[in-house]
């Protein structure tokens, strides 16, 4: 997008001199408060809104030079509340664009069934009508419909805003999975900065009046907000959220306070720690206990302190590790391998040191770190 402006006849400027280089094959999120022109910007890409000034290039070609229907059919379009056709079955909703492109009915329906599976919908829903589906399921149908003709570009306008937080998280994870599998160029509009940071490879923060405040990766956004507006928009806990981008693999773990439940009273009494983490014979955590208590025979799981939610070094971020330590009644985070066996524990002090070291080194690439 090159210095694109949208000015309405009454003089309102929705988008002001916006220039963006949206990278191929990744998710670019447009985020900002209401009235910042993010939806207008998105709708200019498929020419639902025509810009007043400036040009939008797709693969180097001005989108104005392509017929508008051809352009739109080459871009999937997902809107809030899905906008399904209530008179058509789910399978026919999804087959809409392939049918417009002249596919046969059977081929289009077969493609629709394939997409239902891809977006995590049971194919037994194919013959249902939209009103028979939940909001989250309808939104999945909306995504499947947008993907039906395999467009290289996907435009998504606040697609998950109307569903509850649990369903939204599921849909977000599903979108990241689909993106990883299909490598589409996705432009995603949201007013939710957490959603932007979770989904975006690049995030464009827009301010009221349609001006670009910052265009950066989520990690860069959190570590170096361009100005007070961006900082304010990111919210108070951006320091903690930034830890999502630091891997926990390098965290120094200790196995000193880890004991097996059948280790024996002498082993418990000899330990030099205020608390010991008791595991079962397979090495799975049971809970925390004091050396004295354990030596006295209180090794039953219901007599132990809960160990909270463990983290997996290498998969989870430092944010997850810190969260474990904060939640743990003993202040120690429990690290496990992917099979759930204890690999060690880390104190809040150790995690604090790791955070300082990580800050000194700079944030890692998103790859390999689940936010």
């Amino acid at each position: 997008m090159e210095s694109v402006t949208k000015r309405y006849p009454d003089g309102t400027v929705a988008v002001d001199q916006l220039s963006l280089d949206i990278p191929d094959g990744s998710i670019t999120v447009l985020v900002g408060p209401s009235g910042c022109g993010k939806t207008t910007t998105l709708r200019m890409i498929n020419r639902m809104v025509e810009p007043t000034e400036g040009t939008i290039l797709l693969d180097g070609t001005d989108i104005q030079r392509r017929p508008v229907t051809t352009l739109r059919r080459s871009m999937g379009y997902v809107i809030q509340n899905a906008g399904l056709f209530q008179h058509r079955t789910i399978v026919d909703n999804i087959a809409t664009v392939p049918r417009m492109l002249g596919w046969g009915k059977q081929k289009a329906r077969a493609r629709a069934a394939e997409l239902m599976e891809r977006v995590g919908l049971d194919t037994s829903l194919a013959r249902r009508y939209p009103y028979q589906l939940s909001g989250g399921q309808q939104q999945r149908v909306g995504v499947a419909r947008a993907l039906a003709a395999d467009p290289p570009v996907l435009l998504m306008d606040e697609p998950f805003s109307a569903v509850d937080p649990v369903v939204r998280k599921g849909l977000q994870d599903e979108l990241l999975r689909i993106q990883a599998e299909l490598g589409k160029t996705i432009v995603f509009v949201t007013h939710d900065i957490d959603e932007a940071i979770k989904l975006g490879t690049m995030v464009a923060v827009l301010r009221t009046g349609g001006r670009l405040a910052q265009f950066a990766s989520p990690a860069e956004l959190l570590s170096a907000p361009a100005d007070a507006f961006v900082e304010d928009f990111l919210g108070a806990d951006r320091g903690v959220r930034r830890l999502s981008f630091f891997p926990s693999a390098a965290l120094e773990l200790t196995t000193a306070p880890v004991v097996r439940a059948d280790a024996g009273a002498e082993r418990f009494a000899a330990a030099d720690a205020p608390y010991l983490l008791v595991t079962d014979a397979d090495g799975r955590p049971l809970g925390w206990g004091t050396p004295a208590g354990l030596a006295a025979g209180d090794t039953a799981p219901d007599r132990l302190l809960p160990y909270g939610r463990p983290f997996v070094p290498g998969t989870d971020s430092l944010r997850a590790a810190l969260d474990c330590a904060v939640l743990s009644p003993t202040g120690w985070a429990v690290a496990v391998d992917p099979d759930g066996r204890v690999t060690g524990v880390a104190s809040q002090t150790t995690i604090g040191e790791a955070i300082r070291a990580a800050h000194a080194a700079g944030p890692a690439d998103r790859a390999g770190v689940a936010p």
Partner: protein, 221 residues
């Protein structure tokens, strides 16, 4: 003698069931006038309603015309036009069509206007042409309301088509007009009953058409 006796006497008289003034012939004439009038009114009201509803323009003009047309007295119009144009089918059709266009036009306009804008936006966004947006997205959803407009127009036509008898044409109005003139109240009641039955049949036909034509996804069952 009460009304039911009249009804019984009228329908059990075999002379009423055949011949030039028989029930089958009068019924057929009445149905023919009604279908012609409904067809003409739909040919005017549906396209204009669909187009104005789709574009969202001209709503105020429509409301004004519809109110004006509703204020016209059918019978007065009939007499006036019959005097001007002679005693044939045209003076009957004009008031019937004038009567039927407003409900068709206004409900069609409202039906298309009230379609949820989200699927329409989605349809445009995925590259659907305007004609397809109207016929494949808006029309199927607006259909129940459009049918209700056609239904009330049809029932008004069926009831009002009796006025054809005043200009020497046939139809079930013959029984009512002739009966009144001849002071044959059996005939009047019989004719009125037939009109009522025909109106109820029309209602049933539209209900069946709705079951058949409206998608289960729109009917929600």
């Amino acid at each position: 003698m009460n009304v039911l006796n009249f009804v019984d006497a009228f329908f059990s008289d075999s002379a009423h069931w055949h011949g030039y003034d028989g029930i089958p012939r009068r019924l057929l004439e009445h149905v023919q006038y009604s279908l012609l009038a409904l067809g003409l009114a739909a040919a005017i009201g549906l396209p204009v309603g669909l187009l104005t509803g789709h574009t969202g323009r001209g709503g105020n003009v429509l409301a004004f015309l519809a109110t004006a047309a509703r204020a016209l007295p059918s019978f007065g119009l009939l007499v006036l036009i019959a005097i001007a144009l002679g005693f044939n089918l045209l003076p009957v059709m004009i008031p019937l069509v004038v009567l039927a266009v407003p409900p068709i036009l206004v409900t069609t306009y409202e039906a298309v206007r009230s379609v949820d804008p989200a699927p329409v936006d989605a349809a445009r966004g995925m590259g659907m042409r305007e004609s397809r947006v109207l016929f494949q997205v808006e029309l199927p959803v607006a259909l129940p309301l459009i049918l209700s407009g056609l239904r009330s127009a049809a029932i008004q036509i069926v009831s009002t088509a009796t006025i054809a008898a005043y200009v020497s044409l046939g139809g079930l109005g013959r029984y009512i007009v002739d009966g009144l003139y001849q002071r044959d109240y059996e005939k009047v009641v019989g004719g009125a009953t037939l009109v009522a039955v025909l109106a109820l049949t029309t209602l049933a036909l539209f209900w069946a058409a709705g079951r058949f034509a409206v998608s289960p996804g729109v009917r929600r069952r």
